[in-house]
Each structure stands twice: as C-alpha cells, then as structure tokens.
Amino acid sequence: MRTRLRHTTVFRLAFTYAVLFGVAVTAIFVAVFYATQAQLRAQIDAGLRGEADALALVYQAHGLEALKDAVSERVRAARKLTGSRGPEDAGQRFYLLVGPQGETLRGNLAVRLAGGAAATGFADIRLPDDVHVVDPAGDPVDSVRLHGLALGQGYRLLVAQALNESQELERTLFALLAAALAATLLIASAGGFLMGRGVLRRIAAISATAGEIMGGDLSRRIPPGRRNDEFAELARRLNAMLERIDALMASMREVTDNIAHDLRTPLTRLRGRLEVTLLDARDSAAYREAMAEAIADADGLLRTFSALLTMAQLHAGTRRLPEERIVLPELCADMVDLYGALAEEKSIDLQTAGSSGVTVRGDPELLAQALGNVLDNALKYTPAGGRIRISTGLADGTALVCVTDTGPGIPEQARKRVFERFVRLDAARSETGNGLGLAMVKSVVDAHGGEVVLMDAHPGLEVRISLPSAPEGQP
C-alpha cells in the first residue's frame, strides 16, 4: 500500500516551498544584478565626463588646434595600445571632434556613427553592422556609451567608451546568479523530497500497523521510531489508545461470556421446564403452575436485560439525569420503611441515623435503586441476630451514606472486583440474583459524580457512598 510521492501532502508542501523560495531568491538576484549594472554605468559615465571635460579645458585654454592635436594624440595612443593596423577604429575609448557643419575634424569614431549622435549628453549607441571596431583585446565592439559636449561656435566633442567589458561583466554575473538559483531550487526540491520521504515512511509504518490491527492482530503496536519527535508522540498516543481499546475489548469479551453464562442458565431452565411440562402435566393446574414458573424465569431474564441497559446508558452518558434535590436521611428512612419488615423477619436490627440536611442532586429513582441493591446484599449476607446501620453525614462538602453490616464482609483483594458486572464471589452462582447489584450501584454513583468504596467494618462490611453535596441554601 505505497502512496505515490507525487500525491502526498508532504510532496505538495515541499514543492510549494521550493517554488516560493526560488521566487524569493530570483527577486534578490534580479535586484543585485541591476544594482551592479547601474553602478558600472555610473562609473563609465563619470570616466567619459572627466575625459570630455579635460579636452574642453584644452580647447578653452589653447584653442582649436591644440584640441585637434590632443584628440589625435589620444587616438594614436589607443591604436598603439591595441596594436591595430587595420582601417577600423580600435581602443577602449573613442574620440571625435565635429565642426560647425558636422564635418569630422579629428577622431576615430565612424562619421555615420557621429552623425547619428548629433545630440549632446549621454547615450547608448549600438554600432551598425558595417562599422568594425575592436577593443584593446581585439574583440569586436558592438555598442558604446557616448558622451557629447558642445564646445561653442558650433564645435562639438564626442567621447565614447566600448561597453564590451561591462557587458562581459554583466554576462558573467548573470551566469553566476542563474547557476546559484538553479542550485537553490535543486537543493530545496531534493531536501523537500528527502524530508517528505522520511515523513511518508513514518506514516506508512503507522498505516501498516493499522492495517494489521484491522486484519485482526490486536496485539500489534506502532513502532515509536528512533527520534523523540511528534511522530513518536503520535505513535505513543495511538498505542495508548490501542491499549485502551484492547482492554475494553477484553472486558467486553468477559461481559459477553458472563452474559452468555448468566442468560443461558435461566433460558435452559425455562426451556427444560416447558419441555417437562409438555411431557408430564396431567391437568390444567399443573400447566398453570409450570407457566407461572416460566413467567418468573422470563421476568428474571428481563430484569437482567434492563439492568444491563440502564448501566450501559449511564456509562455512555446517553441518559440525562434529573437534577432533583434528594434529602438523604429521608431517602434512608423510606428505605428502612420498606426493608424493615424483611430485616425483622430475619432477626436483623436495621436502623438509620444521621444529621438532617444532607442533600444531593440527582435521580431519586436511581439512587433509591442503588441503596436498595446495597441493602439487598446486606440483608442477604448478614446472619440472624446481626445488625445493619444506614448512616448519613457530611464531610468536606461531600455527602456520605454508609451501610454497615455484621456479615462476613468481603476479602480486601476482592473488593474492587465485586463492582464489575456479573462478578460473584460465590463462583457457583448458587445464590439468587443476577450479579449486577453492585455494578449497578457503581454505575449510578459514578453517573452522579460520586464514589463508592468497600471497607472493613470489623467485623462485617461497610459500603461507603460519597456524593457531591448540594446544600439547602443553593437554588
């Protein structure tokens, strides 16, 4: 299941960044290029102006003939420097002295070129193809920078400089910058590609593990990688999630097994009872009795189902709890009212005690049921002549209900386990009940934001339920 690099987020990001980076680098390069070029031109212009001004000074100081000589001298020097013997102009600098009628008095710039540049000031001139000019290195010159200066009485002096050198410098600079840009783009792309591939490899590892887990191997975990980075953190989180799911699945399996056991037994009993009735029953009274027992069996099954449903709703939080005010001592008194007769029948002393004003908010039905379940257990396990106390109180803003009995208690190591669904300490499950009593108590108390713990009452068991208190004064 290899994702193609071209289609990945990482590739897109790397590509985008390479392009953006390239654009930025290009902009910088362009700025550098033009700044350098402008600097070169400014230097050339300053040189030309200086030369023209120097010649103008000669003219003003010594007159036209002196100027003619000076120009000739400079042209000769340029020719000598280049070693040129041809008819063409040669040199780095070129000179032309023009008379009032536009006639060439002295100089080495072609007449046509001079005629084309009648104006004074600076200009870039591209030399016509039939004008052959070479620079001191002997390379042909194809464009010059020209400076014209009016000397007065119609005389004009033109000084030009070949742009070869500057153009070459510009070309070199351009080539350098282009190469640097290409290298930048290459490095950015390659870096992006490599980083992307690294990230993809980590994601592929996670994806592969997920695939194996989906394939049924729940024990698989994502390798955290060597570095302690975001991916390692992600892997740790996902692994923790997988642990949790695994644990939930395990407890789910346990519940399913227990449900299967708990429902299969009464269902088998029900089926057997009906079958035997079909075979044996002689009269309608026998049928009637069998039917009544069958209905009792079915009721037991339904009770188990409805308890499971309520707990599932409480656990999932899908059941909205009412926010009724419940006065715990009153609730306990009502409980004693209901359970008193049974306790007396079993010679158990059932009493309630506690301060008034211990109130909580919640669902009175559910809390009554939870308390009922605790009392059911206490009455079931407390021997005749024993004692059951229900006490209420307040401690640090917490409302407490404690049910203490003088029964056999629950061994310390089993106290957590009894709150699980379908857990019964008498493994044979011979006692009546569906094994959901204390699990229901815990579900109800949890849903109310409280806590239930089992403690040793020396002797006997103390079931301590703590709930967030809702004092009388509050609305």
């Binding site: 009544a292 209905i295 009792a296 009721d299 339904l302 009770r303 409805s306 449903l309 309520t310 709703q313 059941r319 909205r320 009412p322 009502d334 009212d337 209901l338 359970y339 008193g340 007769a341 049974l342 007396e344 029948e345 669902d363 039905e365 559910l366 009554a368 049921q369 009922g372 379940n373 009392l375 059911d376 009455l379 079931k380 009546t432 009940g433 569906n434 009593g437």
Partner: protein, 225 residues
C-alpha cells in the same frame, strides 16, 4: 369495560386484545396515531392504552390533544424506553399511568383495572371496609369483627391502598410505587414480607383470609370466600 388500544405493533396488539377479551372487556384497537385520536375523542371509553411511539400522531401528542379538548378518560402509556424522563414527560402530558415494555399482561390488566374503575370516592371518606375488616381513616385504627388490630404506619398505608382497590388485583410493582413511592424492583422479597406481616395481623387470628395472593401477579383483598 370499554378499552381503546392504540398500538402499532400488530402482534403485541393482538395478544393484548385477546387477553382483555378473556377478562370480559370490550377492546377497540387501532394502529395509527391520527385514527386513534379520532376514536378516543369520539368513543365512550373507560381507559385508553396508548403506545408512546406511533406512526402519524405521537402518543404524547394524542394525550395532550385529548386533555386540551377536555377529554378526561384515564390514559395508560406503553413504552419500550426505560428512561425516567419519559415517564415524567408522559405523566406531565396528562397520562395517568405508565408501563414499560416488556410487561406482563397481568401487570397491565391490574393497572387498567385500577384506572378504569377508579371509584368516585369522596375525598372526605372516613372509613374503608371489606367484609368484617374496617379501617377508620380519621382515628387511623383498624379492626376486624370489632377486635382492634395494631398496625405499624407502613402496614397501615399498605392496607389502606389494598382497601381502596378492594376486589382488584394489585401487583408488587404497584405496591412499590404507590405505598413506598419507589420505582425500582428490589431483588429481595421486601414487598412480600411486608404483605405477609400485614396478613399475619389481619388474617391469621381469624377464621377466613381476606388478603389473597394471586400467584405470579400480586395480591387482592376481598370478602369473598
């Protein structure tokens, strides 16, 4: 009694109709909320048995509409949901009783009986009686054949409820709800124990029992042999 059953599940409806007919009631049944509303508004029924979830008009809406139109026929809601909100909602809408599916038919029949023949007792009634047993609601004393019987407060309340429903079967759940105001089902035989203690006081010392157990259903108090 004339009963109207508004229930969309055909199988449930047919077994309920058969059951009520066995008991000698006349049952009309319809499966649709709108139709049910029309029938309930037009017919003379003693009790309406209404499913909460119905096609057409919702069960809750039917009862609200009927109550709005001044129809005071007692209503018993049936529902598949166990959420307590639902029961509160149902009773607030004008329902008189509430039963969660799946329920036993006896439970339903007992509750329908209690609703339908709710005796027009004047609230200022001062004495309840069945055969030789007499309860004085003012002095809060009970006597049988002129012999005074001492009862605990809880026993007194239990007997009072039974006497108010004399001749009719009341279920354990009804006793839990009406005598102790609890909605849950205890896992020990607390209701049975309370009833047997009451029986020990009002029946044991005398020649024939008044308080009978109806197996798998509940209890009934009457003077017949």
């Amino acid at each position: 009694m004339n009963l109207l059953l508004i229930e969309d599940d055909a199988e449930t409806a047919s077994y309920l109709v058969r059951g009520f007919q066995e008991l000698g009631h006349v049952v009309d049944r319809c499966a649709d909320g709108r139709e049910g509303l029309l029938m309930a508004g037009a017919g003379q029924y003693d009790v309406l048995i209404v499913d909460r979830r119905l096609p057409g008009v919702d069960g809750l809406q039917i009862v609200k509409t009927l109550r709005g139109a001044g129809v005071a026929t007692p209503v018993l809601f049936l529902t598949t949901m166990t959420a307590i909100d639902d029961r509160v909602e149902g009773l607030a809408a004008g329902g008189d009783d509430y039963l969660v599916k799946p329920f036993s038919f006896e439970e339903l029949a007992a509750r329908v009986n209690a609703l339908g023949r709710r005796p027009p007792l004047p609230p200022q009634e001062t004495a309840l009686r069945v055969g030789p047993l007499e309860m004085d609601l003012v002095t809060r004393t009970v006597s049988r054949d002129g012999v005074k019987i001492e009862l605990q407060p809880v026993e007194f309340r239990l007997l009072e409820y039974l006497l108010r429903n004399r001749g009719r079967v009341v279920t354990r759940t009804m006793l839990m709800e009406r005598v102790w105001s609890f909605q849950f089902e205890p896992r020990t035989s607390v209701v049975e124990t309370n009833v047997s203690r009451l029986r020990a006081k009002i029946d044991k010392p005398f020649d024939h029992p008044l308080l009978r157990t109806v197996r798998g259903v509940g209890y009934v108090i009457d003077a017949t042999e």
